[in-house]
Subunit: 273 residues, 2 copies
């Protein structure tokens, strides 16, 4: 059964209707306690931080042990500023003491194959794009968990795909490589709160994908209210959650250039078939 | 500086040339200690395990708070057997006490939009396939870390994409949903060891993607030797790592049907443009 600290974390995540049956454990409390950090102090990171995050990242599972990902640490302030401009002007990209860009990478595999006079055909298939992207995501999430264990905050930067060609050029990426997302890491300058999520009953299905429309509508309504109370408590005047989802997915305008990534990936010899 | 336990974990992961500068911490040691488990005992999981894993998963970051993923728990032995057959006959799919299938899901967003008489155009873009797949991967990795904190083992099942249409049918997935991978969870029946990974210097780049070909070749050679020693110690008679990579990526035959996922995703109204 949950102890008081776990119950409190679950209530912040799910409201009063929390997962009452959850088990507790220091590592699990640590995971439940996640919040994204978008404002960083200039406090330097301890020596060894980067090595530690990479070791955690490499300890995650990887499809067929291909290790089809790489990561770039960007320090140069001018390059950071250019990348921030490409990613919707998120100033934490310039501010965070550590900025990492996670790559799906089949170029290394091709270099290995070239030494054996072999051309690889599989990387250009759509499935390989998923293999590399998922590999990078599993690795990065382990780095996030490790960073938080060191008292650091993080935020993912998906907007690095807004102008994918410019980022490919900036990072001098060879064919068979693409940037999946960025990640800022540093000490939080301000407190941030645990963001509520959808009820488990909306996210978890049993046996097959079945939806009870009336129940789903009611549970999403409950979440809408919880998310609105959260926004008010944060002093934010945001639209309701459903409206945010619709605005983000309604048409190309909300993709901020990401509607064009297919072409750039193809130029990188990825997702060709 | 690392303590003795952390140093031991890093040596198992990287060999003698480990990341000597890594910081230590119980959560980080926990991450470094990961190994995949492919043989499960029939010991039942404690009540609340599933709720705990889902709470951890939902605590991970999600792009624009879209929460563009769902998960299906499959218990029915007949369905498990059919899924195992579709995924390269991996018997742990039938054996593990818990089997979860992680989905990229824009169907829920479309149901919300439909209540507002809106058709969503963005989900059919390739970028949305990545958003949903990355969301699912971040969530699942948190579930893996939580499972291991409860003393459980896990293994990802990417082979669930080998015959994607059959899995879509089996799980009755609506348009705008696809299964990214499966995940087995349970108590390990046998010990498994920490698998070595590439040296950090091969995976981590600075500022831009630059490769010193001679250094990379040497470091990959070192890794090849480490991986071979690991395989021998496990009593496995496997080809060298480079050969495994080439065999897995050389041509369509090693994709085991995954060369056809583009068509299935398109039929699911995903990755159309």
């Amino acid at each position: 059964m949950s102890n008081a600290a776990t119950t409190d974390l679950l209530q912040q995540r799910y409201g009063e209707q929390h997962a009452a049956n959850a088990l507790n454990n220091p590592v699990i409390d640590h995971l439940l306690n996640h919040r994204s950090v978008r404002s960083y102090s200039d406090r330097a990171l301890p020596d060894g931080t980067l090595e530690t995050l990479i070791a955690a990242a490499q300890s995650a599972a990887t499809s067929s042990n291909l290790q089809a990902w790489s990561v770039i640490e960007v320090r140069d302030p001018a390059r950071r500023a250019r990348l921030a401009r490409l990613a919707n002007n998120q100033r934490h990209i310039e501010q965070a003491p550590l900025f990492l860009i996670w790559l799906a990478d089949f170029s290394r595999a091709q270099r290995i194959a070239s030494q054996h006079y072999t051309e690889l055909r599989a990387p250009s298939y759509l499935d390989s794009l998923l293999v590399g992207s998922v590999d990078a995501a599993l690795a990065a999430q382990n780095a996030v968990v490790a960073a938080e264990a060191l008292g650091l905050g993080t935020v993912y930067i998906g907007a690095l795909r807004n102008d994918l060609q410019a980022v490919v050029d900036e990072l001098e990426l060879p064919p068979l490589v693409y940037p999946v997302f960025g990640l800022c890491v540093g000490y939080a300058a301000t407190d941030s709160a645990i963001k509520p999520r959808l009820p488990q009953a909306v996210t978890l299905h049993h046996e097959t994908y079945q939806v009870d429309a009336a129940q789903e509508q009611r549970l999403i309504g409950d979440y809408e209210a919880l998310a609105a109370a959260f926004s008010r408590a944060q002093g934010q005047n945001t639209p309701g959650w459903s409206e945010q989802v619709i605005n983000r997915l309604k048409d190309e305008s909300a993709l901020h250039g990401r509607e064009r990534i297919g072409k750039v990936l193809n130029d990188q010899q990825l997702a060709l078939r």
